[in-house]
């Protein structure tokens, strides 16, 4: 259990106040353990996305710090893949060129990146769509391209900001399964922001429940370990039990908050 002792990323006492005075996060502490699937679960506007952006370095904390205990370098952008709620693809470029973007920004030529591009695309099951344009793909396929793009730099840490929120249920279930398989194949750590109790219970090895105004982590729930799911997990009593538990924690927290305010 040594790996629990040294987290991959650690946020300590992070506070974020926006310029308009809104306090998004206060005394936010979070350790991301190597190899885990961590969900940040909470209602809209509780600062989940802000926390994710701070981990990514897209936003600076007002106070407190983000540390990478085992890292040799200060610049971690090479180790982070980011997936937004929207696929955020370049509509003028085909799928392969979209996946090429992160490498391209690092000066890798299209030829040198070719193998990497097709490898990333086959990871998400889109090997035959290199020349398609985003407009020609379904919502789920666009999200797969977005994930392939994030994976193309072989990140240690994959940050996902409600990536499947806009998709239909059937597509979402399929992508949930594929994402778990992907994590097994690639072996990266995932921090996943969601407002769905069921999604977080299905995916996570650990769930951090957040409460809003100011956002902080109010409870942590152990999920199902990697490889602990089989084909029938979604209909199993263990999954139903976990969902019930997570829901109850959520309800307790929000009703406490209601009593306070």
């Amino acid at each position: 259990m040594a790996e629990i002792a040294t987290p991959l990323v650690s946020l300590q006492g992070v506070t974020k106040v926006f310029t308009n005075g809104v306090m998004a996060l206060a005394d936010f502490d979070l350790d991301v353990r190597p190899g885990e699937f961590l969900s940040l679960l909470g209602p809209s506007g509780c600062g989940k996305s802000t926390a994710l952006r701070i981990i990514a370095g897209l936003s600076r904390p007002s106070s407190g710090g983000v540390t990478w205990p085992n890292a040799a370098t200060q610049d971690h952008r090479g180790e982070i893949g980011f997936v937004f709620q929207d696929p955020t693809l370049m509509p003028w470029a085909n799928v392969a060129d979209n996946v090429w973007l992160p490498s391209r920004l690092r000066g890798v030529s299209r030829d040198a990146a070719r193998e990497n591009i097709s490898e990333s695309l086959s990871l998400v099951g889109l090997k035959d769509f290199e020349n398609a344009y985003p407009r020609e793909l379904s919502g789920g396929m666009r999200m797969r391209v977005s994930i392939a793009r994030a994976l193309s730099i072989k990140p240690k840490l994959l940050l996902m900001d409600e990536p499947f929120a806009a998709l239909d249920e059937i597509t979402r279930f399929k992508l949930n399964d594929d994402l778990l398989k992907l994590q097994r194949d690639v072996g990266c750590t995932i921090v996943f922001v969601t407002h769905s109790v069921y999604e977080s219970a299905y995916l996570s090895s650990r769930i951090a429940v957040m409460t809003p105004r100011p956002g902080r982590i109010a409870a942590e729930i152990e999920g199902v370990a990697q490889g602990g799911r089989d084909m029938d997990f979604r209909t199993s009593t263990a999954y139903a039990e976990l969902c019930r538990h997570v829901s109850r924690v959520m309800i307790d927290l929000t009703s406490n908050e209601g009593a306070l305010s």
């Binding site: 952008r77 370049m90 003028w92 470029a93 992160p102 690092r106």
Partner: protein, 280 residues
Amino acid sequence: MTAPLSPALGRRNALEWLLPAAVFIAAIAGWEAYVRAHAVPTYILPSPSLIATTMVADWPLLSASLLVTLKTTLLGLVLAVVGGVALAVLLSLSKLVEYSVYPFAVVLQVTPVIAIAPLLLIYLPQDIAVLACAWLVAFFPVLSNTMLGLQSTDRNLLELFELYGASPVQSPAARFGSRLKALWILRLPAALPAFLAGLRIAGGLSLIGAVVAEMAAGSAGAGSGLAYRIMESQYRLNIPRLFAALVLLAFTGIVLFLLLSALTRILLRRWHESVLAQEG
């Protein structure tokens, strides 16, 4: 499902061409019949057939004028595109430049060009003054549309760019370099649809600018373009030639618009809604 659909679509396409063509032919025929039935004098309203024969008879003169106007229009448009895009890029790279320069571009735009034309004709040689007019009116739509396009780049894509691309060293030179890179990889392609919309407007305006300036020059008795021919024909009561020149001007405008629309379609074919929607 496609089989029963395509004949219907084909019929609609045919109708889209046939209906305006039929209306056009009917209007011309009505005009011809009216002029003949009432024996309208040619210096008031020439018949379409007379306009056509004048076009043929005066072709050497008219074609030379057409060439002059065409050259002015196209050169004005090209200069407007080069200047407009360059300035838009400059303004998008630096807020300081935007604040100090953009108001003047607006002033140039809102001042009616016909009011500036006589001044330009005093300060510049006649052909340069006409070109300057065409450039002036075509410049602004290119500038403002390109600016709009550059500013409407997807914010998330720009963040992605920051995450994956920005140099860790935050020296001013490195920041400028990464801005240039973002411009080339993200902002310019994102601005393309808005730029092309501006280009289509600018094409028509460039022709108008050329015509306005030629008229201002023509009233001073100098010039050789189509608009000058119109002024000259009016003074000489050569109304059939006036009409012939007018037809050529309208034709130039239509061709210019169709060419620019085709360019838009080719460039945006695979990715932009505005073009895809037309294909159903």
